[in-house]
């Protein structure tokens, strides 16, 4: 599974919301970022954060280069995706004026950014494109326009003079000149072909600059933090979900941040009342993991995150149901994929929301208990939420604190017992549903316990 960023954009964890907030200046940066395969080596991810940290120090609100941020962004907004031209150049094609114009523009952008960042940014080493610029700007005007200049060929200059002096347009002269122009384009293309690596690496480095600048701005906009790369454990303090936070704050309410931690070889079971935010916790965990793997800031006050090769986010969303599977079949198939990856020895994070909830409680409980049992000693990071009473397995349990004086307390606390809290009736009552129904349920419960 070679995951690219674009394949997780529409994950139910809400990655797209964050992605669309990035102020990328060039569509090239957007394309390159979307095509990035998900890094999973700790050293690779640490390296991306090293660069982000360097950019943050320089470009944050009190950073030394903050004053030139806007002008850098304007320059980067002129960056075009000319990878196609690079391919053609490598294949020994002769470029036309439009392509030469675009290479010249790239060189101008490269020199402008290099001038500003040289010696200040260590993580990106901009190559000089001065030679390319001289080649495409033989008259040294340093403006972005381009044509086959007279100075490229003495014969051309003579012909052009002749064309200018004539009062009428002469097809013959234009034809003659165009042959020379084509020859010049051929020569220019061959010279550029020799430095094509400079052109393609400049595209990458400028796009990388654009991406890092927009990641720095995102840190500020969404109040994200740079996490620590850990091994074998995920620890979040004050984790939140930016999208849900925004929704909650729109209704003039306060979003309650939560803290949670879990380790490999130790599945974490989250129980708790309905509407207690268990699914939000899972969504936030998935979101944080993805953001981490791609080197973004994460929505938490502080975080330690362990890189994984795969993220399995099993939540009851509509996708599989639409493709014809029943909700049960869709869910079971997804969890089976978790097991397959675990047995294949992959490092994974599995986040499973209320497994087997659509079947009868007896079998459901058995399925969940069995799932946790067989994965107890496996090297995976796993969080499972459930309403079932999972008794016959030793694992770490936490629960949502629940209703306190009619108000939901979303914080997660250690759970010692195995019984899930009985709050469903109280919460249903707080929603104002028909009392006769709830009273009848209350009676039934009493009969059972008596």
């Amino acid at each position: 599974m070679n995951m690219r960023l674009k394949s997780i954009l529409d994950s139910p964890c809400g990655f797209r919301y964050i992605f669309e907030k990035l102020q990328l200046q060039s569509s090239l940066s957007r394309h390159l970022l979307m095509d990035t395969p998900m890094p999973h080596k700790p050293s690779d991810i640490a390296c991306i954060y090293e660069e982000l940290r360097e950019f943050k120090i320089l470009f944050a609100q009190d950073g030394g280069l903050r004053n030139i941020l806007t002008s850098l962004q304007i320059t980067l907004s002129h960056l075009r995706d000319i990878r196609n031209t690079v391919t053609r150049l490598s294949a020994a094609a002769t470029l036309d004026d439009i392509e030469l114009f675009e290479i010249k523009n790239l060189a101008i952008i490269n020199e402008d950014i290099r001038k500003h960042l040289k010696g200040k940014i260590l993580s990106i080493d901009f190559d000089s494109m001065e030679d390319i610029l001289n080649l495409l700007d033989p008259e040294g005007l340093r403006i972005s326009s381009f044509y086959i200049y007279d100075s490229y060929d003495s014969e051309l200059a003579v012909l052009r003079k002749k064309m200018k002096s004539g009062s009428k347009y002469q097809d013959e002269l234009y034809y003659e000149a165009s042959i020379i122009e084509d020859r010049v384009r051929g020569l220019l293309s061959r010279k550029l072909e020799k430095v094509v690596h400079l052109i393609s690496s400049s595209l990458e480095k400028l796009a990388k600059t654009d991406i890092l600048l927009s990641k720095v701005l995102l840190l500020e906009e969404l109040d994200l933090s740079i996490p620590v790369v850990s091994t074998g454990a995920n620890r979040y303090t004050g984790m939140f979900n930016p999208y849900i936070k925004e929704m909650v704050e729109k209704e003039k309410k306060e979003f309650q941040k939560v803290s949670v931690e879990f380790e490999t070889n130790s599945p974490l079971l989250i129980t708790g009342a309905n509407m207690g935010g268990k699914t939000v916790v899972l969504k936030s965990l998935a979101l944080c993991q993805y953001l981490f793997q791609f080197g973004f800031g994460v929505p938490a006050e502080c975080a330690e995150i362990s890189p994984v090769e795969e993220v399995h986010f099993c939540i009851g969303d509509q996708q599989n149901i639409e493709s014809g599977l029943s909700s049960f079949a869709a869910e079971i198939t997804r969890i089976d994929a978790v097991l397959k990856s675990v047995y294949a020895g992959k490092k994974i994070l599995a986040l499973i929301d209320e497994p087997a909830r659509t079947t009868n409680p007896l079998e459901g409980t058995a399925l969940v208990t069995a799932l946790i049992r067989i994965l107890l000693d496996k090297k995976l990071l796993m969080v499972v939420t459930t309403h079932y009473n999972i008794e016959d397995v030793e694992c770490r349990r936490i629960r949502v604190k629940g209703l306190e004086n009619g108000k939901m307390n979303y914080s997660l606390i250690e759970e010692t017992g195995t019984k899930p809290p009985r709050e469903a009736l109280r919460i249903a009552a707080s929603l104002g549903v028909d009392n006769r129904w709830l009273q009848e349920a209350e009676n039934l419960l009493k009969e059972k316990t008596e």
Binding site: I98, S145, G166, Y174
Partner: protein
């Protein structure tokens, strides 16, 4: 040839053909040939490729534009590659058309190019603004594609030239009538109602202007769809402003319901009028009045007496008859080499 000198008063002009092969491009070339380029920078472009495609269908060749030294032009990547002019590439636009992005370039000596510019009036307006602001153009000339009257809107260009000819009708009488109707629309006067300034800010809806100048909604969402509109709705109304399109149905309703009362219909500009000559003239004859908020200056009408099907009309007679009908000078620029 007076209209070239007249043209220097404006920063933009569009050339609109009432039918293909009415000599639009000849008209453009005629202008380019006579403009004093030594004292001004001229930019040319066209709207989209609409007309070009149609010409390929009818297999009549699309004439190239003759560029002069120093002129700016805007055309698609595809047509830039096939240009026959030495030119300096200045800028590449972000928007994509079916023939690629729009290139802005400067001709470095005389030459020829096919024009295919931005594909919408809004992006055309942006191109013109950029030519004026970034490349110091004093005048933008827009070669109008067929049936895109909207680009003659004063929002896009401040002045216009109308090209008509035998391709529109082989009968001089019909040709004159059809042309005169469009000329009549272009020349609809700007409203004298003092409310005009405020109406310019109304982006949608239909508005009533009362006897004392107060502006209130007429109570219908648009002139395209309404259930009930009778004499009681429009009683005490001096003028009605239609922000969108004026249609036959709306015109007839007003004509019927206003009775003896003379109501002024105000539209944004003449390109918003979509009514048949018959209904329009009936409305005017009954004492109705139509006016606009913004008007573009019609500089000249040019005729091409020859149609691709071989029809050839008497040029002098055509010019004479049309002049008599519209009260404006009419030129056959292909036949007559007028002095600048």
């Amino acid at each position: 040839m007076p209209f070239v000198r007249e043209l220097l008063k404006y920063d933009s002009i569009s050339i609109v053909g009432l039918e293909k092969n009415t000599g639009k491009t000849e008209c453009l070339n005629y202008l380019i040939k006579r403009l004093p380029l030594d004292i001004m920078t001229v930019a040319v472009s066209s709207i989209g490729v609409d007309g070009e495609r149609r010409d390929q269908v009818t297999r009549s060749s699309k004439p190239e534009i003759l560029l002069r030294d120093g002129m700016l032009f805007g055309t698609s990547e595809q047509h830039y590659r096939s240009r026959r002019v030495t030119s300096e590439l200045l800028d590449i636009g972000d928007e994509r058309t079916s023939l690629g992005r729009v290139i802005t370039a400067r001709a470095l000596c005389g030459g020829k190019v096919l024009l295919s510019g931005p594909s919408s009036t809004a992006s055309l307006r942006r191109w013109m603004d950029s030519a004026i602001k970034n490349h110091n153009a004093n005048l933008c000339i827009i070669d109008g594609a067929l049936s895109r009257m909207s680009l003659a809107s004063p929002v896009v260009s401040k002045s216009m030239i109308l090209a008509t000819g035998a391709a529109l009708s082989a009968n001089i009488k019909t040709l004159v009538n059809k042309t005169a109707f469009v000329v009549g629309l272009v020349n609809i006067p700007v409203t004298k109602n003092a409310a005009g300034k405020i109406l310019e800010t109304k982006d949608d809806g239909v508005w009533r202007v009362g006897e004392d100048g107060e502006i209130t909604p007429l109570g219908i969402s648009s002139a395209l769809s309404y259930d009930k509109l009778d004499s009681s709705t429009i009683s005490g109304t001096k003028a009605i402003f239609i922000s969108g399109a004026l249609t036959d149905r709306f015109l007839n309703t007003i004509s019927r319901e206003s009775g003896d009362k003379k109501i002024e219909l105000i539209v944004r500009d003449f390109t918003k009028i979509f009514v048949t000559p018959l209904n329009y003239n009936t409305f005017l004859k009954r004492g109705g009045k139509v006016s606009v908020l913004k008007k573009s200056k019609l500089l000249a009408v040019c005729v091409n007496p020859t149609a691709p099907d071989g029809t050839h009309l008497d040029s002098d007679k055509l010019c004479r008859e049309l002049e008599k009908e519209i009260g404006l000078p009419v030129y056959d620029i292909i036949k007559n080499e007028y002095e600048a």
